[in-house]
């Protein structure tokens, strides 16, 4: 009789066993177990084909390659692109080597990253903040000058802050896979590689706005995001509309009773569930444009309800922690309403944040 191949592979991640189909990556297997063992990801993005392998945030140790060949793999591997084998044993948070490598990746990604979290639209929902908070060390040893780029205007909808980019390539894959003609890409190479259109043209077609949602940091943000409010001052509401181009399923972000921005809905890994079109994202900013479904269940990727920077998650005090603590505010809609950046800059909140931030990095 012929051997019947097992249809499911058994994999162990940090001591927890899970059964997955052949072809599953270590990352997907770990996610199946749950956030306790899921490696961080700065470049991998499940909805986008071809992503992953670049940031090295998700490195794990393969302590046993498979049941058949239980030798360990010689190097750490990127869990997001490495397929599992039956009987594979993976060490993630339990491996000191992995913990060290993660710290290194945090340090590398922050080397040239500007310290402008207090003025960054992404603060509070930034994956680099999360990643460094959960995996980094508190200090930087970098004394060299930070890299800068020439500013590029990419049109009325999207703001590009190249200095914040971590070169995950997600926005490139998004434009390739979702829009009918990519006009931006990665120019140059090495530590001068940058996201650009090269000729300063607008990134503008039906689905281009999705690059904002996939960007893990504040390199691509919504220019139409009204009042540039801090995300933790606003509350998300699920809503939909009848849209010809996309599913119309979105999240509306309210400040008081004003829609200040529209985004796609995201899963617990911070990945977009359904991409939305530019009309939904940029042009429908009135409650009357939408059918309201109710308050969103806020997932892992957002600080606003999780209060995740406080309490038992703390492993080590570090800069991200301090930043996050300093920025964390309960939603408080009774505070005075500021609408312009110049106004925000005058606010006490802002001044305190800037001061705290500055003090921290002064030493």
């Amino acid at each position: 009789m012929e051997d019947i191949k097992p249809i499911m592979f058994k994999v162990t991640v940090d001591g927890v066993e899970v059964e997955v189909a052949p072809g599953t990556t270590i990352m997907q297997a770990a996610r199946k177990i749950g956030p306790e063992v899921a490696p961080p990801a700065m470049c991998y993005y499940e909805p986008l084909k071809g992503t992953g392998g670049k940031c090295r945030a998700c490195l794990v140790k393969v302590a046993a390659g498979s049941a058949k060949d239980p030798r360990p793999m010689p190097k750490l591997v990127a869990s997001c692109i490495t397929p599992v084998q039956d009987g594979m044993i993976v060490e993630n948070f339990t491996s000191p080597q992995v913990v060290e490598a993660r710290k290194a990746v945090v340090e590398f990604l922050l080397l040239n990253h500007p310290l402008d979290c207090p003025v960054c639209d992404q603060a509070g929902e930034c994956h680099l903040q999360d990643f460094s908070y959960e995996n980094g060390v508190g200090t930087t040893r970098y004394e060299e000058e930070r890299r800068t780029f020439e500013k590029e205007d990419i049109g009325p909808y999207i703001q590009l802050h190249m200095t914040r980019c971590v070169l995950c390539y997600r926005c490139v894959y998004t434009a390739d896979q979702l829009t009918d003609g990519r006009v931006h890409g990665v120019m140059g190479r090495g530590d001068h590689a940058e996201i650009s259109t090269y000729i300063g043209r607008a990134i503008d077609n039906d689905f281009s706005g999705n690059v904002i949602d996939v960007c893990p940091v504040g390199a691509l943000t919504d220019k139409t995001y009204r009042f540039k409010n801090r995300v933790w001052f606003s509350k998300p509401v699920d809503a939909h509309c009848d849209c010809e181009k996309c599913s119309g399923n979105v999240q509306l972000w309210y400040r008081g009773d004003e829609v200040i921005r529209v985004t796609a809905r995201k899963n617990e890994w911070g990945e977009v569930k359904e991409f939305i079109c530019n009309a939904c994202r940029f042009e429908k900013k009135k409650t009357s444009d939408w059918v309201i479904e109710g308050p969103s269940k806020v997932k892992r990727a957002s600080v606003i309800s999780a209060n995740k920077y406080a309490g038992n998650l703390i492993k080590k005090p570090d800069f991200a922690l301090k930043l996050a603590e300093s920025q964390y505010k309960k939603i408080d809609d009774t505070r005075p309403f500021v609408s312009e950046m110049s106004e925000i800059k005058k606010s006490e909140d802002y001044k305190t944040l800037m001061q705290q931030n500055e003090n921290y990095f002064k030493k």
Binding site: K54, R56, E144, G190
Partner: protein, 446 residues
């Protein structure tokens, strides 16, 4: 006289032409392989020879060939890696410009063995003049019936395409090379899948170095066993070594693997010794990426045995006291060479050549370069030395492709062996930044 497998006829006038090359026995191996041997027999012969890839990694060529996936109905490709950009390495340049037909003959036999009908030679773009030489040679070989349709009436077709690069060391990495050949940026691919399964245009592909492919004709003419009889242990055959730096006779030499390092450095047949009036300080034995070692450790292993020019002997002692044969880019440094300056120079090279895809290499190479630049220019701190070691460790092994390692090793090894020189630079910034200033402390000179 040492056996000359590749360069026996290299000084013959006109050897770059089909006519002279043919007179010297050229293309007989193609005749033998295509008329008398099956592709599998050719692979078998190459396996027997034990020849290892000459591009740097030293992977046995016959074994690589036998891994090539052969799914029905999908073309297979052979790509020759002639991107040669590793500092200190200029052997492929030498071989191709002088003996283009040796490479082409090897390409024909290898393609036949692998069942490829279209094969590519990826030459770094700077060597455009060599590309023209190769293209001319291909025309000649085609006119003589050794290329094109129905080669020698055998029914086997082969087209050779010479493809220019555009200035990027990283395209020497085989998957970056394939991306580049597909007309894209030279970003190395994540592996698996390996090229043997999904390579050029997602088809099974073998990538081999120029020198590796050039050995094939001799192996077919003389047999794999005859090749394996040359050399020492698992370092079979001969190797081209390109020698530069502070020696009397810089140039390219074909050595029998297992030659003693002392003889290679000092004999007049090869480097002719350190240039007159100077003493050996350090050696980079196999191209800028391999660990730099003090002269004494190049000549003798840590156990005091004579070191040999072979894969095994050069790596004796691992990263603590050994180095690697690498691509055969031999660079000698005498006492006038500043190790700090050279380490900075090399790290600037890796920063410049990093593709920028993965964060440890993109950020780490720049960081090391900037710190070394500070030390070299009198602005270093003592803590910078350990910082460099630490950064190099954090790059090593954590990247997509080995360029990260290649950037880390020269820095780590320079500090391991020449730490006092780095310290001197930091403690004496004024002296150290005078033009031509070199630390003359207790570094072991030979």
């Amino acid at each position: 006289m040492a056996t000359k497998i590749l360069t026996e006829h290299i000084s013959t006038p006109g050897i770059e032409t089909f006519e002279v090359y043919r007179k010297k026995g050229g293309y007989t191996a193609v005749e033998k392989a295509i008329k008398k041997m099956t592709p599998d027999e050719v692979v078998e012969e190459v396996k027997k020879s034990g020849v290892r890839g000459r591009g740097g990694a030293g992977f046995p060529m016959g074994m690589k060939w036998s891994f090539l996936a052969k799914p029905e109905g999908i073309p297979r490709y052979l790509v020759c890696n002639a991107d040669e950009s590793e500092p200190g390495t200029f052997k492929d340049h030498y071989l191709m410009k002088n003996m283009p037909h040796l490479l082409i003959e090897g390409m024909i036999i290898s393609s036949y063995a692998l069942g490829a009908n279209k094969s590519f030679i990826y030459v770094r773009g700077e060597l455009m003049y060599v590309i023209r030489i190769l293209e001319k040679a291909i025309e000649e070989a085609k006119a003589a019936g050794f290329l094109g349709k129905n080669i020698l009436g055998s029914g086997y077709d082969l087209e050779l395409v010479v493809h220019p690069g555009g200035g990027a060391y990283i395209c020497g990495e085989e998957t970056a090379l394939l991306e580049s050949l597909e007309g894209k940026r030279g970003n190395p691919r994540n592996k698996p899948p390996f090229p043997a399964v999904k390579g050029l245009y997602q088809s099974p592909t073998v990538v081999n170095n120029v020198e590796s492919i050039a050995t094939v004709s001799w192996i077919i003419n003389n047999g794999g066993e005859a090749y394996a009889a040359v050399g020492v242990g698992k370092s079979t055959g001969t190797k081209l070594i390109s020698a530069s730096g502070h020696i009397k006779n810089p140039g390219v030499y074909e050595i029998t693997l297992g030659l003693s390092c002392d003889e290679f450095l000092n004999s007049d047949e090869y480097c002719g010794g350190v240039r007159a009036g100077h003493r050996l300080k350090a050696v980079v034995a196999g191209g800028s990426s391999v660990p730099i070692v003090p002269g004494a450790l190049f000549l003798k292993t840590a156990n005091g045995e004579d070191r040999l020019m072979s894969y095994e002997s050069l790596s004796d002692g691992g990263f603590v006291s050994g180095t690697m044969l690498g691509s055969g880019g031999f660079i000698a440094f005498d006492e006038t060479a500043c190790i700090v300056r050279n380490t900075w120079n090399f790290s600037r090279f890796y920063e410049h050549e990093s593709c920028g895809q993965c964060s440890p290499c993109r950020e780490g190479t720049g960081w090391m370069q900037k710190v070394l630049n500070r030390i070299e220019h009198g602005k270093g701190n003592m803590s910078d030395i350990d910082l460099l070691v630490d950064v190099s460790k954090k790059i090593e092994g954590n990247t997509i492709c080995p360029l990260g390692d290649a950037a880390a090793w020269p820095v780590a090894s320079a500090i391991r062996h020449f730490r006092d020189e780095f310290e001197w630079h930091i403690k004496h910034p004024l002296e150290a930044t005078k033009p031509g200033a070199v630390y003359m402390g207790d570094g072991v000179l030979v």
